[in-house]
Symmetry: C2
């Protein structure tokens, strides 16, 4: 069998164009790829056709995409989820799951189909989330955290239920003995995967790395071999390879101990799956859709759609009530979790291929996924505006993630001292003297070289939500920022800059998505001296209006004798970022130079 280049060119080409257009409109590109398959493929125009080679590529694409999704999940995020978030996730999965199961039975479907549809309406797609959250400026809100944890939990639940259904289908019986065998098989598989993933995989990667095989190509092959091994184990257990690939991804994220390598490889897997193989799968998934359901199964289609939407939103909101954050927030979270996106399409595609569902149920699930995913940006925006109008859009508690301060000079210690009551703060410095000073004052400090990624890791940078680079040398700060952003993917990175710093350093910082500390370059030597004199003294506090006026009139630092360090918002201290970001209810805390500043 030969590869049909023209067919691949056309399929990849339309996937690329449709995906890009749809993404520009604010939707996940998978919708465009599916749509292109439906419109240009057999269901409507029939310009594109599937061939065996495309199926192979699509299969590979699904496997690699599951590896990528697994590698993107940080299991520690799950541990950090609040009880309210956990409940919302469970409600958001089981309520639509139960409703989906019930309506399928009511419409005369069998148990397997009912379980499958239940599972599909219960899914919340993780991969589609982050873009919308960025666009709506929600990344640091409480609802965003709840939604991310919810998507993660409901995806995991779906995959477990999916595993169960697949086993049932493989065994073909529902007796007590059969169910027991199934449970045992699944348990054995998960145990084997856990054993391999935590006790073998990390050692293999560590061993090859010690022997000098630290190249990306070499370790990519090893990664793929691990993924294929897990996929094969899943198949042996009567499950589907995508389950194994997903678990492999989960374990590989932690198993590849060299952070840069783990990050690089997940990048390559992402590029190859999202940029090459998976789009082929989504286009060919569109090929299988049949418009006949609008004629033959319209009532069922409509019912599944309603159950999916209402079940997800109401289920989420109801189970979220005990958190005490109100029903408005619960409904908004439900809006956000209503999208089904890529994972549901993958599961439905596998179900169709395995003969668990027929083409009409597949089509219903695809239309449901398209409709719900497309509605998220609109409904979530309503919800967020609604919360804003009622002043209930709560920013996430910044104390959930620690801050790392690189450079334990007087200014660094001052920042650490004031921030410490609100979140865990760690300092790192090359100088043992400075570290000793910091320890003396009750701060957490490590001696180490922050330009060495391993020293950063030892200081716990991986958990940190914020990194502040405040060594005397702006170029070193930029190098630290680069590591923090690109190796450790820290969200919030600030680097101290001086007015005479090379213009290129500012460009580098900008290109990293990091920002100058305090928003502007500062006269470091002077403020270091002020901080050393003022150490442990009170900061000058001003309400928003006064602080804005002061900053507008006199500029930052030198002129006014005031350096804005923090903003106090909702009782919590955060680093000052820029004058434009001061809200009316904020208070700004300044470090004051006593020689210039008069209260």
């Amino acid at each position: 069998m030969e590869l049909d280049i023209l067919n691949l060119l056309l399929v990849l080409g339309v996937a690329w164009i449709a995906g890009t257009v749809v993404q520009r409109l604010g939707y996940p590109s998978v919708l465009g790829e599916l749509g292109a398959g439906i419109v240009l493929g057999p269901p409507l125009l029939g310009w594109l056709s599937v061939g065996d080679p495309l199926m192979v590529i699509a299969d590979l694409g699904v496997l690699l995409m599951m590896v990528y999704i697994g590698m993107e999940i940080d299991l520690r995020d799950l541990g950090r989820a609040s009880t309210g978030g956990l409940l919302a996730a469970i409600g958001g999965f089981f309520v639509p799951f139960g409703l989906g199961y019930a309506v399928t039975i009511a419409f005369g479907g069998d148990v397997i189909a009912a379980l499958f549809i239940g599972m599909a309406v219960g899914v919340t797609s993780l991969a589609t989330k982050s873009r919308i959250l960025v666009d709506l400026g929600l990344l640091d809100t409480r609802i965003a955290h709840v939604m991310m944890a919810g998507a993660l939990i409901s995806d995991t639940l779906s995959l477990i239920v999916f595993a169960g259904i697949l086993s049932v289908v493989t065994i073909g019986t529902l007796t007590v003995f059969g169910m027991g065998t199934i449970a045992l098989q699944i348990a054995l598989f998960f145990f084997a995967a856990w054993l391999l993933g935590t006790h073998v995989v990390p050692h293999v990667f560590a061993w090859v790395s010690r022997r000098g095989f630290d190249g990306r190509t070499f370790n990519l092959t090893l990664t793929l071999l691990v993924a294929l091994l897990f996929a094969e184990l899943a198949e042996l257990a009567g499950l589907h390879g995508i389950l194994g690939a997903f678990l492999a991804g989960l374990f590989l994220r932690e198993g590849i101990r060299v952070r840069r390598l783990s990050h690089d490889i997940s990048g390559v897997v992402k590029d190859v799956s999202l940029g090459f193989l998976a789009p082929v799968f989504f286009v060919t998934a569109g090929f299988e859709v049949s418009f006949d359901v609008f004629r033959d199964d319209l009532a069922f289609l409509f019912t599944v759609m309603v159950v999916a939407i209402v079940g997800k939103i109401v289920g989420t909101a109801l189970f979220y009530l005990p958190s005490g954050h109100g029903w408005r927030e619960g409904i908004t979270v439900g809006f956000g979790m209503n999208g089904r996106g890529a994972v549901e399409i993958i599961i439905a595609g596998v179900g169709l291929q395995a003969g668990i569902i027929d083409q009409s149920i597949f089509s219903i699930l695809v239309f449901m996924a398209i409709f719900t995913t497309a509605s998220v940006p609109v409904t979530l925006k309503w919800g967020v505006d609604w919360l804003r109008r009622n002043d209930q859009l709560v920013r996430a508690d910044p104390s959930t993630k620690p801050a790392l301060i690189v450079g334990a000079g007087a200014l660094g210690r001052e920042i650490a001292h004031h921030l410490a009551p609100y979140r865990p703060v760690r300092l790192i410095d090359l100088s043992p003297d400075k570290v000793a000073l910091a320890l003396e004052k009750g701060l957490t400090a490590h001696q180490g070289d922050a330009l060495d990624a391993d020293a950063l890791a030892r200081a716990g940078v991986e958990d940190c939500g914020t990194v502040v680079a405040i060594t005397p040398n702006p170029a070193v700060n930029v190098l630290v920022a680069q590591r923090a952003r690109s190796v450790f993917l820290v969200a919030n990175v600030r680097a101290m800059m001086r007015p005479d710093s090379d213009a290129g350093l500012f460009d580098v910082l900008r290109s990293l998505g990091a920002a100058p500390l305090f928003g502007v370059p500062i006269d470091y030597a002077r403020w270091e001296e002020v901080a050393a004199l003022a150490e442990r003294s009170e900061l000058v506090e001003m309400p928003a209006a006064a602080a804005r006026a002061r900053l507008a009139e006199e500029g930052l630092g030198s002129l006014s004798g005031l350096l804005p360090l923090f903003v106090r918002r909702s009782g919590v201290l955060r680093l000052f970022a820029a004058a434009e970001e001061i809200a009316d209810t904020d208070e700004v805390l300044f470090l004051a130079d006593p020689e210039v500043y008069r209260a």
Copy 2:
């Protein structure tokens, strides 16, 4: 058709293990992959079997590998090849080509088979070269340059001849009219590829980049689409897709104007082809080998082997004679170019698939490729030792590539001034004053920010063999070194460091494969002052022994009042690197601090 996960796991697994073992032994990994296919596949043990899905993956692998090979070739290197090198390459292709053709006809083969065998014995594999050159420490020798250019030229010639043979086979005639049609078709294809590659592809990439689509995943998809389009065009012209993919790679290298993106994408294409898809091809290529040739065609196998080896070595050496570098050097170059490696296997595989050659010729070509490729490390080492014994191993002329000096202070200008007679030297600095000073003294200087990759590109960093970062700030120098190494792949990068520089900066520099300027940290401010006073004065010259003694006794810089700037070797000035690297016939040139140094 479903993907057989177990089969893929096994094939990729054995490819990975065999490839790694063979590579550790000093041979290209393709030999291990082929060998694993022969031993574990149908030819011997029969444990592995080919399936349709594997064929699709293998086809994709070959396409992507040709894209990668194309992207690795810098056409400007061809323009820089010496006349001697060009002649050697032509002789190294056409002599074995003619001999291969003749013996095939003599053994009763038809014209097509004869042309095909001729082409296969003419190939020199590019992808296998660099590792051996590094291992034997040959990278900066003249023979290395000749071999690299030779491999490039003979690969290109083979692909053109291959295109011709494919057209002949497609048309199925050898009449004058038929030949004319073929020539026209090939010419049309190459013209279309050139037009698209130079006039359309760069604009498309520039356009999407202007519209903000600068992500790696997005541009990888675009790259693959271009490659598939070129492959399809080649197929339309009656040629094979691999020709199109190869040309696409050639043009994409230049077409993706954003250097970082071009480098990133070629990296991903490399990982996916060499780390995933191509190994599957090489293992399955091994499946097709038949040991029957040892019984049925032993005489022919032996003759082809002899013709390939003798033809390549003698052809190269003969045509290299006019260069005046002697027959020893010519024969050594021939040893080095004797390997066939990956490209020949790919061409033979395509020939077998297209029905141009049968399984026995395919097997002969595979055995020939394995034998010749495996012999290179051994024979090349003989040749090099032989040249060394006769003191004929000539280092390449370092003046062929320009040097870029970042930082136009007094020291930077001093280095530029002394180096300028031996190689093109460019300066870049952010300060217009320093640039003006440099221009005044007749140096080439650009005003620009060296931390901005585009400014570096405008200063011509891409052609440079050496980058010297000598701004006052060591951290900036390290950032520049990082860009020069990882974005522009400059071979020789030096950054000025100070004794009080952060220890992490030295680590970063080492991890980049760059070195401190002058080999050690220096007191920059002091030497900048000395250079400003001494500007354009004579340097202090010492023979090797005296310089070594001086350096050993008094250390560098401060103590002795001497800063070693250059080494004069074979009449050419090069930057001083380390005391251990001074050869007995060298002279060392020092900058002297008149207040401390007494002659």
